[in-house]
């Protein structure tokens, strides 16, 4: 054995990669297989699982219901389909706004003097590494009726003598959107910055020499060359937004229920791991499909590793 390890390059490689590969297999791949098996099972009243093969959890998720009004045997209940749709549209909206905010800042940093760039980047890293839960809490304080935003709005309105009643912003879909945009903004800034920074300054000069104005240079040179960063950032934002449940939990209250909240409740309150597993797999399939088509269209940027 030792002799083989000393002589064979291939055996050395296997030996070096083995711990990681086993670890990931046991803790990432086996759990996914288990989730698949459980999702076809039946729940017991105490939250256990009977292993059988039924697609009930999936039909229920897509709206098949036997609990119907006026004595029908089955009917369409849009509850869970709506939750899936809401999560998907929130993820798209969040990504859209995050790109809109991240791009100008990334551009600003990339075009800054090299000596100042590190400082500007540092200013992005602090919010990025501030704990996720703390950042949701910060927005909870800002958005509530007695919070800073209402205080400032009231103060401004008072200045112009306009009567003002504090806005109810917390526990609304808008609050969840703002929270999501805030949470994931840094994940978009860094990859876009990385791809913008790689662009040779001579390309700008060439565009100018050939008579392109600033807008044209941006549209024909800068934007296309920064697309890998936008793609990588979209993957880093879209996927986690689809699964996050803290933001909607804290800023959405009982009003905004996303697929993440649905899954979490099946495991902790409703005690139905089989339905939770089915929802979890559908979530995974949805994100993989969107990611697949998106990366097939735009390519899979290496910028993803940088962030």
């Amino acid at each position: 054995m030792l002799q083989r390890l000393r002589e064979s390059k291939s055996a050395q490689g296997t030996f070096l990669a083995l711990p990681t590969t086993i670890w990931l297999f046991v803790l990432l791949i086996i759990p996914l297989i288990l989730t698949l098996i459980v999702s076809f099972g039946k729940r017991t009243p105490d939250g256990g699982v009977i292993y059988t093969f039924t697609i009930d959890n999936y039909t229920r998720l897509f709206g098949y219901s036997t609990d119907c009004p006026d004595g029908q045997a089955s009917c369409f209940d849009p509850l869970y389909v709506n939750i899936l749709g809401r999560s998907l549209s929130l993820a798209f909206n969040t990504t859209f706004f995050v790109i809109g905010l991240a791009y100008p800042l990334a551009y600003f940093i990339a075009r800054a003097h090299p000596k100042q760039r590190n400082f500007y980047l540092f200013m992005v890293l602090i919010p990025l590494w501030t704990n996720f839960v703390i950042r949701v809490y910060a927005w909870m304080m800002l958005l509530r009726k007695e919070g800073a935003i209402n205080i400032i709005l009231g103060w401004v309105m008072n200045l112009f003598n306009i009567p003002f009643t504090p806005l109810e912003m917390l526990y609304t879909p808008g609050a969840v959107l703002v929270g999501m945009v805030y949470e994931f903004l840094p994940f978009m800034i860094l990859p876009i910055y990385t791809s913008l920074e790689k662009i040779e300054p001579s390309l700008y000069e060439a565009a100018a020499d050939l008579g392109a104005n600033a807008v044209k240079t941006f549209l024909r040179v800068t934007l296309p060359l920064s697309m890998p960063g936008v793609v990588a950032g979209t993957i880093l934002v879209f996927i986690p937004v689809m699964g996050t449940f803290i933001v909607s939990d804290i800023l959405g209250g009982r009003q905004v229920i996303l697929v993440g909240n649905l899954i979490q409740r099946q495991f902790l309150d409703a005690r139905d791991p089989t339905f939770g597993s089915a929802a979890s797999l559908i979530l995974m399939v949805m994100t993989l499909i969107v990611t697949y088509f998106y990366t097939r269209k735009f390519g899979f940027g290496e910028e993803i590793v940088v962030a």
Binding site: W23, L27, P104, Y182, G260
Partner: protein, 298 residues
């Protein structure tokens, strides 16, 4: 044309985005000095230092710690101390293990050809392309099935019963940290000049000596930043910990989340402020490390 010229619109947009990034953090820090116990409105700073805490309704009138009343309160909170201890314990152990095995697999993937290489490389992307909650409930299902079976099969009772705790959290953290360590170290290895190693071999060093004296010192900065990244990921993790922790293994993010669903006092803000300060210092250390690495080696 000055390559550093930016239009005023870009500058204004950048300033607004920075304000968006920092306003919540500044607000959070400000409220940690709030005199109001309920923390709903800002009732001014706690003014005086005095012998004892004087309360007027829910207002703190004075305190031995003055404006830092909630920080003193925090220091006396045993739950926070326990959660902080757990968080650090988990992060240290998970970082050491994931750095060692992650570096090993980076070397394997970058330097060697072997049968399961495509599988090893592909499995690194799982934590990036799959939402964390999917991994979290999968790992929870794995542990509950295995533990349930083992507890029954071996008739384990009392303390011997297997259950969720610090060990399960640590093991799960390693699973999502390793890919990041491997990818970071792999990226450093890509730009590695092999001639140094060849020179060492030519001068008669064997493979192990070459690795110890040449390769390792050269990739050390990469390994260190991989380790720091892993450490911060572990300190920060909420979702995986949420599903794999048990009684006695509460970490700081889980503890704060629990508080948010109950009564919030400015103590949460004091805790957040201390945390942000720690993050600030850690990110600075990371930047200094990376800057040193970017400088030429000679």
């Amino acid at each position: 044309m000055n390559p550093f010229r930016r239009s005023p619109f870009v500058i204004i947009a950048a300033v607004l985005v920075y304000i968006f990034l920092y306003a919540p953090i500044v607000g959070l820090i400000l409220y940690s000095f709030n005199a109001s116990r309920t923390n709903v409105t800002f009732e001014g700073f706690i003014p005086a230092f005095s012998e004892r805490v004087v309360m007027d309704g829910s207002l703190v009138k004075s305190s031995p710690c003055g404006p830092f009343h909630w920080y003193c309160d925090l220091a006396k909170n045993n739950d926070v101390a326990e959660a902080a201890g757990n968080t650090l314990k988990i992060a240290f152990v998970a970082t050491i293990i994931s750095t060692v095995i992650g570096t090993m697999s980076a070397l394997a993937l970058q330097r060697y050809n072997f049968k399961m290489k495509p599988f090893s490389q592909l499995s690194l992307y799982i934590p990036i392309v799959i939402p964390e909650i999917v991994m979290g409930i999968g790992i929870l299902t794995l542990f509950s099935q295995v533990f349930g079976w083992a507890n029954n099969a071996f008739n384990l009772v009392g303390d011997a019963r297997l259950s969720l705790g610090i060990a399960t959290v640590t093991v799960s953290h390693i699973a999502f940290m390793v890919p990041f360590v491997t990818l970071v170290v792999q990226a450093r290895l890509q730009g590695f000049d092999k001639s140094y190693e060849e020179a060492a071999m030519d001068l008669g060093a064997n493979e192990w000596t070459t690795f110890r004296r040449v390769t390792f010192p050269m990739i050390l900065p990469g390994v260190m930043s991989g380790a720091l990244l892993a450490f911060t990921l572990s300190l920060d993790d909420f979702v995986i910990t949420f599903f794999t922790n048990g009684p006695g293994s509460t970490t700081l993010p889980i503890y704060v989340y629990g508080l948010l669903r109950r009564i919030i006092t400015p103590q949460v803000n004091a805790l957040s402020t201390v945390w942000i300060l720690v993050v600030f210092l850690a990110v600075m250390a990371l930047q200094i490390l990376q800057n040193r690495e970017q400088k030429p080696q000679h």
